[in-house]
């Protein structure tokens, strides 16, 4: 492997501007990680217009910092207040808060910070070696392969993501429909524009992401009331003892590896991997009854896993141009705004961007480790800000921000419409992630599907004859068909079992 571009990447990161934006990114990330409700996807969406004025590298370094910084921040409130600031630190609550109640909050936070750092770093090292490999492999991808990949991506995100599968599929379907609005790329015909010139170029990604993730979440949080107000927590000694470190070292290692692989999967990401790491560690332990009562492994495993996953979910984005989850979709939006050609060519065409972003994660993780331990008290103070003060400011920034992208009032209207849609979706239990992802992948899917059908002269069976697209489509069919068949079979079995018991009675 050629190491020169990797080292060049470090020279990009160490430019003062990039270092500054890396710091800003991780600090903002930690802040939103601490605040329950406002997640990294929302923050990145709201900050999209700000990145317009920056270099592409600098912008992505900052946005990436927000993403993995939030994984650190969410831990703090989970441990101290039993309030997970972030979906990915929900499982940390069980053992983290139990430790805090035993007066060992410092140990839990220290272990979480060290675990996060190690998980993140292992994942970056693996990313450094794996990403160019995947990219070199993906260079052979043609339109048929992209069609299959986009299909698998959309389906996996809808099936693997949390919540109801049917609702996620509905959301993804709406996203695909929204992607068709605007001018047809091949014939030039206008679709679903209703004669409105603003829709002629299709819906923009930025107002959709800002509305669904940003405004929608703010509206939803205004409604949610915390029943209990906590006293400000005091944290004593943050350094974990050597025994604790020894006890959790295995959990950190296993959590990192698990998180890395689950992060690559579309729809995987930080939340799923932290849950999986916790469950795995509990199953593996000789004393599972300790979990939930303050086991250090119960903090170490999910925290290393969510940081490892946050890092590795950059692999599909940077090598294939396929975002693995909602937050990555927003970062893809930022890259598209900057005019960066996202796809397998990125590693070779824009080595400075690719390695700059990857290497910034080393620096970001070190910054987080330095900050997270001594500044815990400061971050907890952020929670004293009431949503009634925070929400109007955020809404104002969102609306001004979206206006500055295109200087178009129509975009403000779009943000509000999608904000209301996002609020209603959250209220009814729909995850907006699949919608945004399907919207991003929708144009790629349509484009490559039609292009490949032109190549194939309209013969769709050709998709199955090419090795890569064929394999991907088989995976697609498996993912689509196995779960419903399995539920049907189990339902039948339980139904017949019911009949038998009835007969006996």
């Amino acid at each position: 492997m050629d190491l020169a571009p990797v080292l060049d990447g470090f020279s990009v990161v160490l430019e003062p501007t990039n270092l500054l934006y890396c710091l800003i990114g991780v600090v903002v990330g930690m802040l939103v990680g601490v605040l329950p409700g406002l997640g990294p996807a929302a923050t990145i969406a709201i900050l999209l217009p700000i990145t317009l004025g920056l270099d592409a590298v600098t912008a992505v370094i900052m946005l990436a910092g927000i993403f993995y910084g939030a994984q650190y921040g969410g831990t703090i409130t989970s441990v101290l207040l039993r309030l997970p600031g972030e979906a990915s630190s929900v499982v940390t609550v069980f053992d983290g808060h139990a430790l805090a109640r035993q007066g060992k909050a410092g140990t839990a936070l220290g272990i979480a910070a060290i675990g996060s750092f190690i998980g993140g770093t292992i994942s970056i090292i693996a990313l450094t070696f794996l990403a160019p490999l995947v990219a070199s492999f993906a260079i052979d991808f043609g339109p048929p392969e992209y069609t299959a990949l986009a299909l698998v991506g959309i389906l996996l995100v809808s099936t693997v993501s949390s919540g109801s599968r049917l609702k996620a599929l509905v959301a993804a379907g709406v996203g695909l429909l929204l992607a068709t609005v605007g001018r047809d790329m091949f014939t030039g015909g206008e679709r679903f524009t209703f004669g409105n010139l603003n829709l002629a170029d299709g819906l923009d990604f930025v107002p959709i992401a800002m509305g669904l993730f940003g405004l929608g979440e703010i509206l939803y949080n205004l409604e949610e009331r915390h029943t209990r107000v906590h006293a400000p927590a005091k944290v004593g000694n943050v350094w974990p003892s050597r025994a604790d470190l020894k006890q959790s070292s295995g959990a950190i290692g296993r959590g990192s590896v698990l998180g890395f692989f689950l992060g690559i999967l579309p729809g995987g990401g930080a939340t799923l991997s932290s849950l999986a790491a916790y469950a795995f560690e509990k199953k593996r332990s000789k004393t599972p009854e300790r979990f939930g009562r303050g086991a250090v492994e119960g903090v170490a495993a999910p925290e290393s896993a969510n940081n490892a996953a946050a890092t590795s979910s950059f692999i599909p984005l940077l090598t294939l141009g396929i975002p693995a989850n909602g937050t990555m979709a927003v970062i893809l939006g930022a890259l598209l705004l900057q005019g960066v050609p996202v796809g397998p060519g990125l590693v070779n065409q824009e080595p400075e961007l690719f390695w700059g972003v990857v290497n910034s994660m080393y620096i970001g993780n070190i910054l987080l480790l330095i900050m997270s331990i001594p500044l815990v008290g400061l971050f907890v103070r952020i929670l004293r800000v009431r949503p009634a003060i925070l929400a109007p400011i955020t809404v104002l920034i969102t609306l001004i921000g979206v206006y500055t992208v295109n200087n178009s009032v129509f975009d403000i209207v779009l943000v509000i419409v999608f904000g209301v849609l996002g609020y209603l979706m959250k209220k009814l239990g729909f995850d907006p992630g699949p919608l945004v992802l399907a919207f991003v992948l929708g144009s790629l899917l349509e484009d490559s599907l039609r292009r490949s059908l032109i190549i194939f002269d309209g013969d769709a069976s050709q998709f199955f004859l090419r090795p890569i697209s064929g394999t991907l489509l088989v995976i697609f069919l498996l993912v689509a068909l196995v779960p419903p068949i399995r539920t049907a079979v189990t339902r039948r079995r339980t139904a017949s079992a019911d009949n038998r018991t009835k007969e006996l009675v």
């Binding site: 906590h230 927590a233 004293r384």
Partner: protein
């Protein structure tokens, strides 16, 4: 009939609690401690932490007073909440702590103590630290 004390973890709050404890044992009535933070934010420095609450419970037990602690958050002004709870429990006396404030500070920030003193329909015991 109970003795109602409005409490915040400050010197004024401590003074009010001490006076209320004495008052409750003199009247041999139960003591209701209202420590209500403003709702909305997840963390507030107006809330007494678990250790402080346990300490107060110990002191009440030593004095032979039955203590009830309410920490549910309120919306609006704290003065209204104190008066509402006083009505609800039909308190025989409200005990509050008072802090020194300049006329300008009072003009800008208002004064919860003043509102409680003026609006209460029952005796109020105002304590200085």
């Amino acid at each position: 009939m109970t003795v109602l004390v409005g409490y915040v973890p400050t010197a004024e709050g401590e003074a009010a609690f001490a006076a209320a404890l004495e008052e409750a044992s003199r009247r041999s009535e139960p003591l209701l401690l209202l420590n209500s933070p403003r709702g909305g934010a997840a963390v507030s420095s107006d809330v007494a932490d678990d250790a402080a609450v346990a300490l107060m419970a110990d002191r009440a037990r030593e004095g032979g007073v039955a203590l009830e602690v309410r920490q549910s958050p309120h919306s609006g002004e704290i003065a209204d909440e104190v008066l509402r709870v006083a009505q609800e429990t039909d308190a025989s006396v409200i005990v509050i702590g008072m802090r020194k404030r300049s006329p300008v500070g009072k003009l800008l920030m208002g004064s919860s103590a003043q509102r409680i003193l003026l609006d209460a329909d029952r005796p109020v015991l105002a304590v200085k630290p």
